[in-house]
């Protein structure tokens, strides 16, 4: 099923299934598969920009922030920070302020932003302009990963249309004194650019190394060009028009009340129908795999799962009834010292079947973080590579029994917020949890030399 180049793959259709908490209708991915869904006229015909109009005509900026806060929307980029609080905090700091959209989505296993932008770029712009109105911002920057060239082009085209329609520009929808400009900047291949302060460094033309906090992005000195800045994920902002239009209560009633709303789940790995599924926050892992993702390839048993893509701790495959959401996976019992929360990240679920050699997979994951560490913090720069070296040796059959203890200790030495950004913790999550869950498999590797089927391509750079 090779597709034609330039023509992006259409995401798998979300399915409606029984057993959902509320009557369910997808909103974020409603346009997926619609012809011309990227076109502004199509978006408007679906009621697009009505929310913006409503906000501009009937609400004060404070009203908008309040409805977003009341909806209990939390960021979809990974950190799960309440969006309304972020906006309110930024608005309290002096102008000029910026909005930065994090479209860097680079974590293996997440691909919701890509398909959402591809299908409905105007929904993002809609959310962005509403945010600008709520926080009194005149300039928004979208930072999109360099690999997503198609998304970049889609956004550029959408922005052009929005200017032509007077939805962007010196007076948005004719509203005097409220102008917004939006620009798109491409990254060029660095996972760390997803981290919000590294992203801003990159946007400012620097090596993308995270900044110290405080000052936080919402504060003077911490944001883009030193100005107070809202950084939000694509999906976070796409929720905003719906909240403004349908109200906070509607949103707060969807899914897990602790972190409500619709969620673009992406699932991949050893499943039959990998894809993007829009479901209420809190759907169970079992439903995701068996109801939506078509079950396991070759009917394998689920061996393990990375619930929020690779940066999270690995979960064993024996409890599939866990709700997949930010609130559940960051609190006890899914807060596991010394590594902290299991984490839900941006909701990219990678499923590993029985056939998968977990030692190899964990080595592969360790390789990703070792290559992607920006190198600013000592524990992350040196530790990720040390772990990788040890794992490679173990995976290739040259491990010694005492390596496992050293590996575990090195992992603890990186973990626990000892680094500037969370990448250090991310790198440790799969290794630490993997060791705990698959100690026997690791032990087997270091006691009898196991056949080396290296899944990870040779030397990392």
């Amino acid at each position: 099923m090779a597709q034609t180049p330039g023509q992006p793959i259409q995401p798998a259709q979300p399915q409606r299934g029984p057993g959902l908490p509320v009557p369910w209708e997808p909103v974020l991915s409603a346009a997926v598969g619609r012809p011309n869904s990227r076109d502004i006229d199509d978006y408007i015909s679906r009621g697009g920009y009505d929310a913006l109009k409503k906000a501009l005509e009937t609400m004060t900026p404070q009203d908008v922030t309040k409805v977003v806060a009341d909806s209990k929307l939390v960021g979809r980029g990974g950190a799960g920070f309440p969006t309304g609080v972020k906006w309110g905090g930024t608005a309290r700091n002096p102008a000029p302020r910026y909005l930065v959209v994090n479209a860097d989505e680079s974590e293996p296993g997440t691909f919701g932003n890509r398909y959402a932008i591809d299908a409905d770029p105007h929904m993002l712009l809609d959310g962005m302009i509403i945010c600008c109105y709520a926080v009194d911002i005149q300039q928004g920057h979208i930072y999109i990963r360099g690999e997503n060239l198609h998304g970049f082009e889609v956004l550029e085209a959408a922005i052009t249309q929005a200017y032509q329609k007077g939805i962007l520009g010196p007076s948005v929808m004719g509203k005097e004194g409220f102008g917004v400009d939006i620009y798109v900047t491409r990254g060029a291949g660095a996972y760390i650019c997803g981290e919000e302060t590294a992203l801003m460094e990159s946007l400012e033309g620097r090596r993308a190394q995270p900044r110290i906090r405080p000052p936080f992005p919402i504060e003077v000195g911490g944001g883009l060009f030193g100005r107070p800045t809202v950084v939000n994920n694509v999906e976070t902002l796409m929720n905003v028009p719906h909240i403004v239009e349908r109200g906070a209560e509607w949103f707060a009633g969807i899914g897990n009340p602790a972190c409500p709303g619709p969620k673009l789940y992406t699932i991949s790995g050893s499943v039959n129908k990998p894809g993007m599924y829009e479901l209420p926050m809190g759907v169970s892992l079992r439903d995701l795999i068996y109801k939506y993702a078509g079950g396991m390839q070759r009917d394998q048993k689920v061996k393990a799962v990375s619930p929020g893509a690779l940066a999270c701790q690995i979960l064993p495959g024996d409890n599939l009834d866990i709700p997949m959401d930010t609130a559940t996976l960051t609190r006890p019992p899914y807060f596991i010292p010394p590594f902290g929360p299991v984490g839900f990240g941006a909701g990219g679920i990678v499923v590993y079947g029985e056939e998968v050699d977990m030692v190899q997979i964990i080595t592969n994951i360790a390789g990703f973080f070792a290559r992607e560490s920006c190198g600013k913090c000592v524990p992350c720069r040196e530790g990720t590579h040390w772990m990788l070296d040890m794992l490679r040796r173990i995976a290739s059959g040259a491990g010694r029994p005492k390596d496992l203890e050293v590996l575990r200790d090195v992992a603890t030495n990186i973990a626990g917020r000892k680094t500037l950004c969370a990448l250090g913790d991310f790198a440790v999550n799969p290794v630490g949890s993997g060791l705990r869950l698959f100690w026997d498999e690791f032990e087997a590797h270091v006691t009898k030399s196991s056949p080396a089927r290296l899944l990870e391509p040779a030397a990392a750079g």
């Binding site: 190198g375 040196e382 040890m390 000892k418």
Partner: protein, 918 residues
């Protein structure tokens, strides 16, 4: 920096003890205050915060917000966390200790552990911290990362990438302090590598500082590598003798040989920085070329070694003869700007008391008698402190390439600009400072006076407002009135902005914009280059500058730089022409004519420094007697009859006075083991020989006398000089606050000395008044050739010194010599095209006096019609082209055959090699 205003204080607990520090203090600093040393690598108080190494983590607890439960303390980096009231810091918490131990482990797994052959050994924070905080055993079983070892980053700095701990101190320094981001980390993560683009040599004049900043042995000094162990070194606190900034240094020597120079912290002068000349150019002290004993010209016309009694006796007899035969006015004394205050003072006394001549000067090439042209206005030559620039709202640089002239002071100006000062750079040619300038004024060479008059006229057009008085209780104060500049209008004698624009070549709107910037700035400061002080129109420039200061609210905004390590000291010590005496330039000119019969030169190589080499040569040849005090047998010394072997500044005890007038103590770092004597001692003995004993047996005696005797130092008499030095002022620092009392200096329209057309003021009834006291106007020089349009062919020559020239004191440091640029002539693109010259080709630059052949640099630095040749690189020096009698030098530039060029370009400097990489 310590805030001066009474700050908010914050009280917190560190390791059980209560500490009170200013709000905003970093925890690591607060701990230091409390005597607790938290280990750091990346943290450095002079650099931006990085938070990279994670070594400084401490357990930090915050008091809970009211009504909320306490949260457990967290591990935070103390170098990025600021104190808050009630904060509880535990620097020795077990979690913090484990984290630190792991940081050391991570740093050492890929470290080569080659401490036995590392220069940092013994003074290495990595070594010390590993010892104190690191794990006691090693468990790393993987292969170490291999990287470049012993890789030169330049002729001066060597990188060992394997030792690098990626703390970003060096890269932050380069980007933040001199603003030259020519060194950075390439790649990322585990593969991060310190590099320059294409591994080209670093060009910065401040790169030596990264050696000090490096917390391990990754960056070492090419000149110090493998020369000594820190515990073998002897140390002496001294002051740098390479330029007028007066940076504080430590002289490290091993077995009485200079091993290295390190900066010594003085927040008022150099903070903790040095330029590379000051740091590396010390090998001359122990050079085998040094003069080891006096020389006397034999009957055969050759210099031969002589004993001190013989040399002193001969000199005394012959000086006496000349004095008696031709009168004391036939003797000229030049020197002192590179000598200590003690030497200057003794020399001045000797000249006045024993030689009895009024012809004394320390300013090579000077054309005017007034050493400080601001004295006529009741001001010192420098009226602020270096530190004052940090609170200036605007900074004017006139006729100076401050990067080359006052390098470490440039760092402070740069800091001021980073703090928000508006920088205005006025120069005939673009300089490094232009990069940061808000306004760049490119005026015709020599037209400084026109520029100043333009600014004054623009200020008269729209005067700045008086500083607002403090508003009355409860009410809005009335807006301050515009300053009354009617007196200045009169002094200007009707010159308009447009007149000045025409004369200077700077556009009128630029002059007006600069005036507006200055009028709107708080505490503007004006710095004028040292070369302006010795020009024929120095008095006029000084008057215009004083008026500018006055118009902006404070005449003391005006500051002149000075030349030499102790130019200011020489000036204050009295090495200046007496009433009716000749300036240094006139002394040489008159000697060339045979009117001056004896030249007494103290550390002044006039053949290289007088702006007319041919005239200087004639002076040396025609003088009946040339006596010198020198370190080396310079080209000038070869013409001398008697050469006394002197000691160098690093060998001396005494004091120096820097450009801002700060007197600082220096101690001798090495002993002169040959028969060199301090200059004060030489003149003192010579004076005694001549029957006028000065009576000095030790430097301290001279210091005591000079402090008591010289007006500038009078308040210091009997005191010890504090370690940060003390500012000496000749003139009362009080400035009348009453604006109406501002004295407007009369401005004299006249020709600018280097060929810009004379100012022709529009006729004005008040003109006569402004002309009071005007000197008879000099004959108008002919319109320079370049103004005659293309086809005239000539270009106006501008020269200035590079910080690093192939000078006597630089040459023995071969590594530094490689940083000296190959001699060059800089041309504008259109002139180069017109002359058929390309970048990198050789060109002959000539006048009726002579010619030099240099490689051409084509760039946008010189405006059309102007070319630039540095005056302290290459053989022969560009002063062979200059004519002291005519102030403007119009040169012919034409392509030179390659063979000539190669022959002329290579010798003297290894710059040719370094320049390849440019």
């Amino acid at each position: 920096m310590i805030a001066t205003a009474p700050p908010n204080m914050v009280t917190l607990t560190i390791d059980g003890a209560e500490v009170t520090v200013p709000a905003g203090t970093l925890v690591v600093e607060a701990a230091r205050e409390a005597g607790i040393d938290v280990p750091v690598f990346c943290y450095h108080p002079k650099l931006s915060l990085a938070g990279a190494c994670r070594m400084c983590v401490c357990e930090i607890g915050m008091p809970p917000p009211p009504g909320q439960p306490a949260r457990p303390p967290a591990l935070l980096t103390s170098c990025t966390t600021r104190v808050t009231p009630g904060m509880v810091v535990n620097t020795m918490a077990s979690g913090a200790l484990k984290a630190r131990e792991s940081v050391i482990e991570f740093l050492l797994i890929n470290h080569p552990l080659d401490c036995p052959v590392c220069d940092a050994g013994g003074e290495c924070p990595l070594q010390d911290n590993s010892h104190a905080w690191g794990p006691k055993e090693s468990r790393f079983a993987e292969e170490k990362r291999l990287a470049r070892k012993g890789a030169p980053l330049s002729p001066l700095v060597v990188l060992d990438q394997e030792r690098c701990i990626v703390c970003y101190r060096c890269t932050r320094f380069m980007a933040e302090i001199p603003g030259e981001a020519e060194l950075d980390f390439f790649n990322r993560g585990y593969s991060s590598e310190l590099r320059t683009i294409n591994d080209e040599a670093m060009q910065s004049r401040f790169q030596g500082n990264i050696i000090d900043l490096c917390p391990c042995g990754a960056l070492t000094s090419e000149t110090y590598r493998f020369r000594a162990r820190p515990h073998d070194l002897d140390h002496a606190d001294s002051v740098c003798a390479q330029c007028p900034v007066g940076c504080n240094i430590v002289l490290d020597s091993r077995a009485n040989i200079m091993a290295r120079v390190r900066p010594r912290q003085n927040e008022s002068v150099n903070e903790i920085w040095l330029c590379d000349k000051g740091r590396f150019a010390h090998h001359y002290v122990s050079s085998p070329e040094r003069l080891t004993q006096p020389l006397v010209m034999g009957d055969d016309g050759e210099l031969r070694a002589a004993s001190w009694p013989e040399a002193l006796g001969t000199a005394a007899v012959r000086l006496q003869q000349i004095k008696e035969q031709y009168g004391p006015r036939a003797i000229g004394v030049i020197g002192g700007r590179n000598l200590a205050n003690e030497d200057c003072y003794a020399l001045a006394r000797f000249a006045r008391e024993a030689l009895e001549t009024p012809n004394i000067d320390h300013r090579a090439g000077a054309r005017t008698a007034a050493a400080n042209p601001l004295a006529a206005h009741g001001l010192d030559a420098f009226n602020s402190t270096y530190g004052a620039v940090e609170s200036a709202g605007a900074v004017v640089l006139l006729g100076t390439d401050v990067y080359e002239e006052m390098p470490v002071f440039w760092l402070r100006i740069r800091k001021a600009v980073m703090f928000g000062a508006k920088l205005i750079v006025a120069n005939p040619r673009a300089t490094e400072a232009d990069r940061l300038a808000l306004h760049r004024l490119r005026y015709r060479p020599g037209a400084e006076l026109s520029v100043l008059r333009g600014l004054l006229a623009a200020l008269v057009e729209s005067p700045p407002h008086e500083h607002a008085p403090p508003p009355a209780e409860g009410g809005e104060g009335a807006p301050p009135p515009p300053r009354d500049l009617s007196g200045l209008r009169q002094a200007l004698g009707g010159v308009t902005v447009e007149d000045a624009a025409r004369e200077s070549g700077v556009m009128a709107e630029t002059l007006r914009a600069v005036a507006a910037t200055l009028a709107g700035a708080k505490n503007p400061l004006i710095y004028a280059g040292a070369r302006l002080v010795i020009r024929a129109d120095a008095a006029g420039l000084a008057a215009a500058l004083v008026n500018l200061g006055g118009a902006l609210g404070d005449r003391r905004a005006v500051n002149f730089f000075t030349e030499g390590a102790n130019g200011r000291g020489a000036e204050l010590a009295g090495l200046v022409p007496d009433e009716g005496g000749l300036s240094a330039g006139e002394i040489i000119a008159q000697a060339a004519e045979g009117k001056i019969k004896a030249l007494y030169l103290a550390g002044e190589n006039v053949l290289a420094t007088h702006p007319d080499a041919e005239q200087a040569r004639r002076a040396l040849e025609n003088a009946e007697l040339v006596v010198m005090q020198e370190l080396f047998v310079t080209e000038t010394a070869r013409h001398a009859d008697i050469v006394f072997s002197a000691t160098s500044l690093p060998e001396k005890e005494g004091t120096l006075t820097n450009a801002e007038g700060r007197v600082q103590r220096m101690h001798s770092g090495v002993r002169n083991e040959a028969e060199g004597r301090p200059d004060w001692s030489i003149v003192s003995e010579l004076s005694a020989e001549m029957g006028v004993p000065l009576g000095y047996a030790a430097a301290v005696e001279v210091t005591r006398d000079l402090l008591a005797d010289l007006p500038a130092y009078a308040p210091l008499a009997g005191c010890t000089i504090p370690s940060e030095g003390v500012i000496a002022r000749e003139h009362a620092a009080e400035e009348s606050a009453e604006p109406s009392a501002v004295q407007w200096a009369p401005l004299t329209p006249g020709p600018s000395p280097t060929g810009a057309r004379p100012l022709t003021p529009s006729p004005s009834p008040t003109r006569g008044e402004g002309n009071e006291g005007a000197a008879p106007s000099a004959p108008t020089p002919p319109l320079p050739a370049w103004e005659r349009g293309p086809g005239g062919g000539g270009l106006i020559l501008v020269t200035y010194s590079e910080l690093l020239g192939d000078e006597t004191m630089v040459r023995p440091t071969t590594e530094l010599l490689m940083m000296v640029p190959e001699p060059y002539v800089e041309l504008n693109r259109s002139d180069a095209a017109r002359l058929g010259l390309k970048d990198g080709q050789f060109a002959e630059v000539s006048t009726h006096k002579g010619g030099v052949v240099h490689r051409v640099r084509v760039n946008g630095r010189c405006p059309e019609g102007v070319c630039f040749v540095p005056d302290n690189v290459g053989e022969p020096r560009v002063n062979v082209l200059l004519d002291w009698e005519s102030p403007a030098t119009v040169v012919q530039v034409r392509p030179a055959p390659e063979s000539v060029g190669v022959a002329a370009g290579v010798p003297g400097t290894a710059g040719a090699v370094a320049a390849e990489g440019r």
